[in-house]
């Protein structure tokens, strides 16, 4: 860039100077430039400068991790916006929900987005866990990141659970009443935990403010920290898992060229670097990461990885937007502690628990879930095999895959039974033979006059 002098020159080069002070590198046209762009940008530098072609295979990752994070970002933004109008008080909360549709521009859309993204995040995080399991990616050296992932799943469930109460309608009130009652079945500490969670012996104002603070401050904080650790560990553990032998030069040339041919035109032609010119930009442990002049079946993260991530994010946002436009988040009558709907149901992801609780309170609500979570956390330390990593449903992991699938299907069946096949009095009903009655019917109107709780 030629230097300009004088006031006019300064003025003329002002935009370019500002631009180059923010973005250190011009749009890259060489491997060195692509590496520097990734490396020197705050938002990009959590990525490696080179990405293994296996990590970019949509059929391998299904994009679930990026999808979950995209949903987290959507929830963060829509949640903060909703906070501008929400008041965590039993007198006002439900009215504020109504106000969102009456007086706030795009209020309903934001609430819908928040609700559907929350349900979506629970589902996608579960699917992400399944992906990591079925590809054996929790195995050494990624054991601890699996544990962090399980913690993130539990946090996601807790986030969704605390958010469930905030609209303060009948659905919220009774789902939390039932959900915290399940927690009360834990031996010795159950009642204490329930009391601490609710700040009272029943769901009321104390529970609302507690859930609110957990939902908007405490849990998002821990979630953000753990997400940071989760991403950091991906890098430090040698990138996403991939099948054995996928780093070999023979596989390299073919795969990388095929990928490049597919993405041709997206970026300036990137030649496969046999002789890399960049130096050591990070030292990473693990048997997979190679630093130096070794062919390793990678491509530049800029643009291939970033375009893939941007695409997944845009797709996720689009799906949530469409859902939010088409489907309204439910809002029932204001919470009424004296008139429980029949049946009262917990949030859908806890309906498997509730179904089990209807058989045995302790085992269904506490025993089996605790064992299941413990098994999940300990899995990478119990399964020490090394074969079949990076391959979907590998034959070498038949036992683990079968066990996990069985448990998963059992839980899925329980959730479906709890959601659709349980009617009044928790009696078995067949949904398509039943007259259309709302599962969470509002309180009967001809009720004896009784002051609602907390007023």
């Amino acid at each position: 860039m030629k230097s300009e002098t004088g006031f006019l020159g300064t003025l003329r080069s002002f935009p370019a100077n500002v631009w180059s002070s923010i973005f250190r590198n011009p749009l890259p046209s060489s491997d060195l430039g692509r590496s520097q762009t990734t490396f020197s940008n705050f938002f990009l530098h959590i990525h490696p400068v080179k990405t293994h072609t296996n990590s970019l295979r949509a059929r391998y990752t299904l994009g679930l991790g990026v999808m979950a994070f995209s949903l987290f970002l959507i929830l963060l933004v829509s949640g903060i916006l909703l906070m501008f109008y929400y008041v965590p008080s039993v007198e006002q909360a439900h009215n504020r929900m109504l106000d969102l549709s009456g007086t706030v521009a795009f209020g309903v859309l934001l609430r819908n987005m928040h609700r559907w993204a929350a349900h979506g995040m629970v589902a996608i995080v579960l699917l992400h866990l399944c992906r990591v399991f079925f590809t054996g990616s929790y195995r050494k050296p990624r054991e601890f990141n699996w544990v962090v992932g399980v913690l993130l799943l539990l946090l996601t469930l807790f986030m969704s659970f605390t958010g469930y109460l905030l609209p303060w309608d009948q659905l919220a009130f009774w789902a939390i009443t039932v959900g915290t009652a399940i927690a009360g079945y834990a031996p010795f500490v159950g009642e204490q935990v329930r009391f601490l969670l609710l700040g009272d012996r029943v769901v009321g104002q104390e529970a609302l403010i507690r859930f609110y603070v957990l939902h908007v401050a405490v849990l998002p904080f821990f979630m953000t920290v753990l997400i940071g650790v989760h991403f950091w560990r991906i890098r430090k553990d040698g990138g996403l898992s991939r099948p054995e032998g996928s780093d070999l030069p023979e596989a390299q040339e073919k795969n990388a060229l095929a990928l490049q041919a597919k993405l041709e035109g997206l970026a300036p032609k990137a030649k496969l670097a046999k002789n890399k010119t960049f130096g050591v930009m990070g030292v990473v442990r693990g048997p997979f990461t190679k630093v130096g002049n070794v062919p390793d079946n990678t491509v530049s993260s800029w643009p291939y990885l970033f375009i893939a991530e941007l695409f997944v994010f845009a797709l996720t946002l689009l799906v949530i937007l469409v859902l939010a436009v088409v489907l309204n988040a439910p809002l029932e009558a204001p919470a009424d502690a004296t008139h429980p709907p029949n049946p009262s149901k917990a949030p859908w992801y806890f309906l498997g628990l509730q179904e089990m609780v209807s058989y045995s309170a302790f085992w269904g609500g506490v025993g089996i879930p605790t064992i299941f979570v413990l098994l999940l956390v300990l899995l990478p330390y119990l399964d020490r095999g090394t074969k079949g990593v990076g391959v979907w449903f590998s034959r070498h992991r038949l036992l683990a895959t079968t066990t996990f699938t069985t448990l998963l299907l059992v839980n899925l069946v329980l959730v479906i039974v709890g959601t659709f096949f349980r009617g009044p009095n928790w009696a078995f009903v067949v949904p398509w033979e039943k007259p259309a009655v709302s599962e969470h019917a509002p309180a009967p109107p001809a009720a004896p006059a009784a002051a609602p709780a907390g007023r």
Binding site: R201, V202, A337, T338, P341, V357, S358, W426, A450
Partner: protein, 158 residues
């Protein structure tokens, strides 16, 4: 600060080391106490909802055979020949408010049924309904305390 008795030369501890250990322990001990006090902070000492102790008026207001549900306080006032009692209205299954009938209790949420004394007759409820203390206050009014469970069958003679 004086050193502990020194039996063997190898067991001796320099003054510097003793002071270091003492200060490290007190420093982190103070931190631990601070953290613990924050944990206690989360347990409320008073609740702002329905008070657990409330008066229900004089016994004369409750004729023999009364089974009066008080939905706000979640308790049913019972008067039989044995006296008066307060039986919980909260289902022991998953915390729903149960309906009081002439002969017992029915939970509308998941179909638990209880007899007149709160014993489980059917449904998923794992425990009988708790009974609460009912006492005569100095003013002559009856006072129920839902924070104080009593054994089932404990009646207040009136």
């Amino acid at each position: 600060m004086t050193m502990p008795t020194e039996a063997k030369p190898s067991m001796t501890m320099s003054r510097r080391r003793a002071l270091t250990i003492t200060s490290v322990v007190s420093l982190f001990g103070a931190n631990a106490v601070a953290v613990f006090s924050n944990l206690l902070f989360f347990k409320p000492r008073v609740t702002y909802g329905e008070p657990s102790r409330f008066r229900i008026g004089k016994a004369e207001a409750y004729p023999l055979g009364t089974r009066l549900p008080m939905t706000r306080q979640r308790v049913t006032i019972v008067r039989t020949e044995a006296g008066m009692a307060a039986i919980s209205n909260t289902c022991t299954h998953l915390g729903c408010v149960i309906a009081t009938t002439e002969i017992g209790f029915d939970c509308p949420c998941h179909g638990s049924r209880f007899d007149a004394e709160g014993t489980v007759l059917g449904g998923p409820a794992p425990r009988p309904l708790p009974w609460f203390r009912i006492a005569l206050s100095p003013s002559g009014e009856l006072e129920v305390d839902t924070a104080e469970p009593v054994p089932a069958g404990t009646f207040l003679k009136v």
